[in-house]
Symmetry: C2
Subunit: 216 residues, 2 copies
DNA sequence: GATATAAATGAACGTCATTCAGTTTCGATT
DNA sequence: AATCGAAACTGAATGACGTTCATTTATATC
């Protein structure tokens, strides 16, 4: 009886899912605590409870693991943003809110501080994972006559690096956190919306995000 | 007669100048050829003709040396740009020309390709070394009513990372080199100048730079 | 159960960045 | 000139890590 002893997937597939997931989680914990350079593959493997060599059957290299970690972080934040913005009517506001929220997280959450130390990795993850949303918003807002963006992918590429650069400077204390507002204004100016409208758009009240999921 | 046999500086000081200079030159040659990660301190020391340990009496670490190398690259390019732009009458055009020239070099000179792999290092060097010029231009153009920049340092910080990000993507083949023009337009939009004027400004004919100095 | 295949293991390897004990060079002083 | 203390230089040694690979273990199949 209770004829549910047959796993739908074999044990191997299940364990591989668990292992990969455990490695991403462990990678996130260790990297966000000590930074990529100080994080060792041995510590990550141990926290994930796998052998040191096993990591390399899931990820080509340390950097490859770091990329997966950062993509996960971006994915979760993108989902939380999407959840709130799909009630917005102005597509320009969707973009503005997304950009603002990412900077707020990057500068406000201590765990991001270490991730920012590899700008091209985190900017790359941001470009790839949030790109589909951001580029869609840029194009929607352009069609609606709000923005004037000739190449949405290029604009988003520039935005990701600018966001990471400013966030890095703020977490290092080189720029005042109060400049976040002006940063958003400049990113909006980049879309060709004009300065006045950019200022108004950046100053609009923002809804709060749903709480963070516990499991990254 | 010819009473100039007394060295104004002692031998030690002279040798130190030579050593530091030789190390920066060697660092540039090795790093731009193989990239920071593949460049070894031993190879750089050997090319500079000093012992491996000597490097550390001039630079705190490998990264510290790389920073000096990149600052030198930026300094030389800044001088060549300054040479040409101080005849411009429109301060907005000075900024536009500078930005355009940096991107052209970053994407056109194979030696930059390896330097771009450390975005925060090269963006940092660009910010510090070219900042005095760029920020001056942004403020001049704002005073002249051409730009509308609230915080020139912030705008330049965003620009440096965006420039590095786009250049990196172009050298990696992820973006078409033909997008350089549009990149300049977006950077100009960021200054609040408005899209039409940005397009006009980016399209103006540009003078040629003086030839590169041989010694970096 | 027996067997073949795939995955996991962790000790060992090789590659550097960095250090430091010993050596050389310099220049102030006699 | 000769001497001597200090400062700079040297390069072999060190230690830390990412990555590899010969073995061991687990799983699926017959």
């Amino acid at each position: 009886m209770t004829a549910s002893k047959v796993p739908p997937k074999g044990r191997v597939a299940l364990r591989q899912e668990r292992n990969r997931e455990a490695l991403v989680q462990a990678g996130y914990r260790v990297i966000s605590e000590k930074g990529i350079d100080s994080a060792t593959m041995h510590e990550i493997a141990e926290l994930a409870d796998v052998g040191a060599g096993t990591v390399y059957s899931y990820f080509k290299s340390k950097d490859d693991l770091a990329i997966s970690v950062m993509e996960r972080v971006m994915h979760n934040l993108a989902l939380r943003i999407e959840e709130v913005t799909d009630t917005f009517s102005d597509p320009a506001q969707v973009y503005a809110f997304g950009v603002r929220t990412v900077i707020d997280h990057a500068t406000g959450d201590m765990r991001w501080k270490q991730l920012l130390n590899r700008p091209e990795v985190i900017a790359g993850a941001m470009f790839r994972v949030m790109g589909p949303f951001a580029i869609r918003d840029l194009e929607n807002a352009t069609r609606a006559g709000r923005f004037r963006v000739a190449d949405a992918a290029l604009t988003w590429k520039m935005a990701t690096f600018a966001i990471v650069g400013v966030s890095l400077s703020i977490t290092r204390g080189e720029l005042a956190p109060s400049l976040i507002e002006e940063t958003v204004v400049r990113l909006l100016c980049m879309t060709g919306i004009g300065e006045e409208e950019a200022i108004e758009l950046a100053a609009r009240p923002r809804p709060v995000l749903s709480p963070e999921r516990k499991t990254l």
